[in-house]
């Protein structure tokens, strides 16, 4: 069985999916099922005090089936992210966190300096830290040195659907990383997910590409297949790229020569 492990926990599915932006909880549940994912991300937000009629997200998630990964999305300082991670740990069942510290509102690109600072603090508090980072090999190495349990470089800006903008950086991060490499954000369609895996990613994390598709359940299945196809292709060892043709059929024994 082709599995991968983060901080000693083994996963069979290499697709990690989000819970945001779905048109309804039932569509989300069906999409999660079709994706084959074992780990799903959630956000931590204030309870609405004035309107307690709204159901909780966890009413729809079978926590015996899915591993919950709380994120620190929307945090702009290390302090905010650490505070949110601590709350997520108490609201949930584990010490894992998808660490986001955003540096820019329009691009949602990470603030590397604050991300590193928050990683160091949370590692000291025994968190399993999975940082969402730039596709920069040097930053990834620093995060690893700071004790991150995985590195999660972006393929493109969150929710952009632009695909893997810098495949060579992902390849270089693959070469250097001693912890799992998860491409997080930027996937638009199945081929983007397959490419991430072909570049050597251990897993792909996505939300909008599935939740925002016209048919999220079908797209979730497409992503499930794409991640598996990309992984198999990576393990199979692709042929080298060449400038010219190389015939597949014999050149001898042609009729009439």
């Amino acid at each position: 069985m082709d599995t991968f492990s983060i901080a000693g926990k083994t996963f069979t599915s290499r697709l990690i999916v989000g819970t945001g932006k779905y048109s309804s909880p039932s569509v989300m549940v069906k999409a999660h099922d079709a994706s084959g994912a074992e780990m799903i991300t959630v956000a931590v937000r204030r309870v609405n005090i004035s309107d307690r009629t709204k159901e909780s997200l966890l009413d729809y998630i079978d926590t015996s089936k899915y591993f919950i990964l709380p994120n620190t999305a929307g945090c702009y300082t290390a302090e905010e992210a650490v505070r949110t991670a601590r709350l997520g740990r108490e609201a949930g069942l584990s010490n894992w966190v998808k660490l986001e510290v955003i540096g820019d509102e329009k691009t949602l690109f990470p603030d590397n300096e604050a991300l590193l600072e928050a990683t160091r603090i949370l590692v000291r508090e025994d968190f399993v830290v999975l940082p969402y980072t730039n596709d920069d090999p040097v930053t990834c190495r620093k995060l690893e040195d700071a004790g991150a349990a995985a590195v999660m470089p972006l393929g493109a800006p969150i929710g952009s659907g632009l695909g893997i903008q810098n495949p060579n950086n992902i390849r270089i991060i693959r070469e250097f990383a001693r912890v799992p490499l998860i491409v997080d954000a930027g996937v638009g369609t199945a081929s983007d997910a397959a490419l991430a895996m072909e570049l050597g990613a251990d897993a792909v994390l996505m939300n909008t590409a599935i939740a925002g598709a016209q048919d999220p359940v079908a797209m979730a299945e497409a992503m499930n297949l794409a991640v598996r196809a990309g992984r198999l292709a990576y393990l199979s060892g692709r042929i080298p790229r060449k400038m010219y043709a190389s015939a597949s059929s014999p050149v001898e024994g042609l009729v009439g020569r």
Partner: protein
């Protein structure tokens, strides 16, 4: 007395424990995390920690996200 609950002023009749506050708000304590004056509380302490006049309380839960 007034406390600051999730960023807004909130009236309660007297100092009360976190468990009592959650019960008043009809919030299932198993589904939330609570921060009291910037300290994140363990669930086991909800019966013991008392919220006083002017205290800041944050009550959070999980919502959809990526």
């Amino acid at each position: 007395m007034t406390i600051i609950l999730n960023g807004d002023p909130h009236e309660v009749t007297r100092p009360l424990t976190v468990s009592e506050l959650l019960a008043q708000l009809e919030i299932d304590s198993r589904r939330v995390a609570v921060e009291h004056n910037l300290v994140v509380l363990k669930h086991a302490t909800f019966d013991d920690v008392v919220v006083h006049e002017g205290d800041q309380v944050e009550i959070v839960n999980f919502v959809g996200g990526g």
